[in-house]
Symmetry: D2
Subunit: 285 residues, 4 copies
């Protein structure tokens, strides 16, 4: 039963005994670990990352005791930890502009039950996608953005988001979010960049890929930081192209890569498979 | 230092507390886990598989005590376990016939230090590859095989292998090993099959792939069992082909896939990343 | 301008001079070849396949003369040929059951302008997908099928299809079409098979892939013939899976492969890039 | 028979009638086109590229007449053209330093008959690879290079190369060739760059890939121009990596990609499948 399955994520400065401590507590509380991934960045002095799935009958009754025991054990070790039930879903806001491919793919995968997400709203600076979003029964908010109104627009977005979401996804949202927004939003923000970073950073990557004559084009899903195109990379993929591809062909191929790379990144994030390690990620996928 | 790094592999019928037990022992003995993969096939009543890398200063002095503690802990749990130092190398015999691509690739990768193997001998039913093997300083044994002499040939092979190897690799060896041989050899045997199993089982897969007009061809590395083409699959890969590929083109493309699939399978096996689970494998790669 | 671009497809028993004959006629009629693919299956006695894109100002006025000249030239050579304007779209009927992924992806790509198709109807033996299809403004016909009513159902389908479509696409349609239907329908039928043929032919391929422990799963788009799972393969693709994938994970991964393989096959067919060569295809993609 | 098969490559400013003109001449001279690829970069005012394979009995006797007819036809159209017999092999010099993987793979593929090349010499600024090259029976020349002696070293290299080769391959050659050398050498030079250009141009790409946390690493084969890392790209490929890859793992994975990307580029060049189009390539592969 879903209610009997959960996972625990632990990270912090590496030291001996963390795996032992966590697994001892789980065992004492009646849990059975069914999948575990652990990675230390160095044999000594590195950072520690662990994700474990476990089975624990009557989890809801025992959860408080389990959490108390974990806190009692892991606080002295200076570890950051978090528990999530297997059936839990991340509340998501998707920001989009006019392009529909990433947005539609996320909504469709969620509807199919492929994503551990619950999209609570779509915010767009255009109205083009309102009907398509409506077909999925998801609230659509139009927040126009111009150079002059950017501050007010971001304030309006934050007002919509406050307390409502665990994750913001930029699904080909064509506005740059300010540092103020990123600090205020208080949840991770995932972006899909339409190139294989760090190649073709910035605007117009498909045109520039065409001009450079590359034989593969790609896309990159990453957490957003104030340094544009520089946040921790979650997932990347590429596809083969040839001299015969027009700019339109490249954009279409790129759209396919974008939607699948973003869907993977969101799926992994929602299942707590992604850990941020400075400007990089550890992904237990 | 290599002498301070090791790994432990544990498997058996799943039950609560195994991760906790192993990590407690490692911790008590001064070890720090730096990478851990664990998989149970079911939440209840499944099979348990774990591989953990750890760092333990003065490992050589402490190894006996560690092993005693592990045995004391894991025997009552009915777990199979094994310890290997990070620098250890599997002693390998490669069996080949006339095709050189898989054999050369393994010898060359070992020479570069890419494989945790030490090829102690090559046995072939032909002499074609003697000089190429000699260039690597590896002993080459010619054991001819005919339908009539198969039993004697296998006896001669077993005589060469006895106590000398931890693994036998069939690198496009074109003879079928008997059930008697497989039982007598006492170590795992890895084969590379020149198709994407279970498509095109048996002989002539490239010709049959051409006739069927498939758009991808592949190769499969698997442990050998008495059921030909049916042993646990370790690794598979494919490559795209077109209508324009001749039978020769298919065989060349196939050779590339074969050598890289076999090299991956041998590398993972030698690093104790592959666990046999009935007729399947669990690969922590 | 689109109206000035067209393509010509030529096929037949190979003989000298066909490329010269076709290109001479195009040149005499004012056309400029901008892309040409040609393949003969053998240097002598093979079959000939050619697809050429060309630019011809005032194509609509000159088309009749061009076609007369082509017929005059190619009929004596026993060649089959066909002309299509670059902007032309194949009229398509999609047959589906309950699974939506392939159907939705085709409708969505067509809406985006990625496919040279015009889906004129969706026919399903269930009503589950009626609303989703309706969102795209495409007529949805419910034709239930039971073992007893199969003949009448096929008759009803044929009645709907007659003269209305250039292509039938089976988008995870879970009924087997009779030989009578295939003969009567008079247009090509493309199916998506949820495995990498010829592995796992027949039913339940994901479960069987799980049981066999394969490391890649795939999908195959093929023209439908009376021999189930045996028609000419248009496109195949695979994705990597691991021991950790549940049957549900395999089915989800498989759905992703299925929709992109089918979309590619339909796109290529609609652009006249696929030629049938006995039980195989020549694909100029 | 090989002596009856040949190919013709044609390129130049696009204009109507070139395909017709070439195929007419081939037909008149008794040739039968068995494979043809043609690409124009634009419908009007673009550049034209064509490669055609044909079968022509008694080619050696008829070659002079065929060439005369082609010249008579194509010179007035300002086309560049070249004829090559199917069995012809490009004479190649490989320049290497200490890394052996690309060099060995090329020599090994040539020995197997996979490449239409004949490596006439290996030139290295180190002696490490002399024995390995000697095993293949290929002359090895040691030309040391220091900052002070670079001009003399290049003169010595040019002396070795003059009139002896059709292609120079830089197989992880760690010296930058001067503009003077590139002008004097008079044949194409192919380089393998150990990253997915234009990401990580310059030195240390694997270390930088590790620092940036990319999820794929790649390699690029390109023609060498005076702008380092900027010549026309022939082929690229990538492989998936994870957070668990050490710098050594990345370099090993990279070596695999490098050798297969370079091998493909050399194979395609030797079969006249690559056309330079400004700073890009047209590859009929």
């Amino acid at each position: 039963m879903p209610g009997e399955h959960a996972r625990i994520m632990v990270s912090g400065a590496d030291r001996s005994g963390i795996v032992a401590a966590v697994s001892r507590v789980l065992n004492e509380q009646g849990g059975n670990i069914t999948a575990l991934d652990q990675h230390s960045t160095d044999a000594e002095g590195g950072r520690f990352f662990q994700r474990a799935e476990f089975h624990l009958p009557e989890l809801s009754e025992r959860r408080a005791a389990l959490e108390a025991a974990l806190e009692h054990t892991l606080r002295p070790l200076n570890m950051t930890w978090r528990l999530a039930e297997a059936g839990s879903r991340a509340r998501v806001a998707i920001l989009a502009s006019r392009a529909d491919h990433c947005l539609m793919d996320l909504l469709w995968r969620e509807q199919r039950g492929e994503l551990a997400t619950e999209t609570t709203m779509v915010i767009s600076n255009h109205t083009d996608l309102a009907a398509q979003v409506g077909n999925f029964g998801v609230p659509f908010h139009h927040v126009p953005v111009t150079r002059e109104t950017k501050a007010e627009a971001e304030a309006a977005q934050l007002e919509l988001l406050r307390g409502q979401v665990d994750l913001v996804v930029l699904a080909r949202y064509m506005q740059i979010l300010s540092g103020n927004f990123l600090q205020a939003v208080g949840v991770p923000v995932i972006n899909i960049h339409h190139s294989f970073l760090p190649a073709f950073m910035g605007a117009g990557p498909y045109q520039r890929a065409k001009e450079r004559g590359v034989k593969l084009i790609g896309a990159t899903a990453h957490y957003v930081t104030e340094d544009l195109d520089e946040g921790p990379i979650i997932e990347q993929d590429v596809e083969r192209v040839t001299h015969a591809y027009s700019a339109t062909d490249l954009a279409r191929t790129g759209a396919d890569i974008e939607r699948r790379v973003l869907a993977r990144a969101v799926a992994w994030h929602a299942e707590d498979r992604v850990f941020v390690d400075g400007n990089r990620t550890v992904v237990f996928a």
